[in-house]
């Protein structure tokens, strides 16, 4: 499926994500790493469970707000089969915890603070994702 290049909303949306990371850092001293926050919130409750759940609820509310204001942003194409959704979800969940970060924690916060581990992790997950899409779309499905 073809999607249009949307430079303006991509930049603006990206800036909002950066602002979210800046706020969580400067207000609470925390890295806005989604997989770390969700993985910890889904485990035994502790003193940090409250803000973690609030952050996660905020993501849903923010997305809901924008898709109500701009219905075009809510048009998503999620065509993967249930088996693929389960396999992909398991890999993303396990992998981000093992590697201690995802697109937000390593890709945005890690790069923003110049962490060598995050730069390496970001190169690895982008490279594997690029290769995966190439194989799925052009080798297997081609």
């Amino acid at each position: 499926m073809i999607t249009a290049f949307t430079p303006l909303t991509a930049l603006l949306g990206g800036a909002l994500i950066g602002l979210a990371a800046a706020l969580l850092l400067l207000a609470n001293g925390r890295i806005a790493g989604i997989s770390g926050i969700l993985g910890a919130a889904a485990w035994l409750p502790d003193a940090n469970t409250g803000w973690r759940l609030a952050f996660i609820a905020g993501i849903v509310l923010g997305a809901l707000g924008i898709t109500r204001l701009l219905p075009v942003s809510g048009e998503v194409a999620l065509q993967a089969s249930p088996a693929l959704l389960i396999a992909g979800g398991l890999l993303v969940g396990f992998g981000t915890r093992l590697g201690n970060g995802c697109t937000s924690g390593h890709g945005i916060c890690g790069l923003a603070r110049g962490s060598r581990r995050s730069i390496i992790a970001t190169v690895v997950f982008f490279a594997v994702a690029l290769l995966t899409v190439f194989v799925v779309r052009h080798v297997v499905g081609g």
């Binding site: 999607t3 969580l24 905020g58 997305a63 048009e75 979800g89 396990f94 992998g95 690895v124 899409v133």
Partner: protein
């Protein structure tokens, strides 16, 4: 602390709004960014660029500040060398991300769509996170 919960909620709202506005909630857009040889959509690069343009000065500011506004100290990972866990985890994540086009932030934001497929992916991702627990380093 109530103020930290409010700050986190506001940060989450901005994050979710940014994901939706940028189109990154749409797995088709993410997969097309990753499809250099096919229907390439460069939007994701600008999302990363926009986010880094704002987050990088914030981290520079944090290095100069003594402590965050509402907490005693900054909780940042201490520098360490890359290890097999980092590389293996990033590779497994990249594989799952490339198969479906959803990473953890959009997985949460997509719950707002109400689509059954979004809930299935989220549940599987949560299960993957819990399956990791026995392998977590002690402490």
């Amino acid at each position: 602390m109530a103020v930290r919960i409010v700050a986190a909620l506001l940060s989450g709202v901005l994050f979710g709004a940014g994901l939706a506005l940028s189109g990154m909630m749409n797995p088709a857009k993410v997969l097309n960014f990753l499809d250099l040889a096919g229907t390439w959509d460069p939007s994701l690069a600008l999302v990363m660029g926009g986010a880094l343009a704002v987050a990088t000065p914030a981290f520079a500011l944090a290095r100069r500040a003594r402590h965050p506004l509402f907490a005693m100290r900054f909780e940042l990972p201490s520098p360490a060398d890359p290890d097999p866990r980092l590389l293996g985890g990033a590779a497994l994540f990249g594989l799952g991300w490339g198969l479906v086009g959803i990473c953890p932030g959009p997985a949460i934001a997509l719950l707002s769509s109400g689509l059954p497929a979004a809930f299935l992916f989220f549940a599987a991702m949560l299960a993957g996170m819990l399956l990791y627990r026995p392998f977590a380093p002690a402490g």
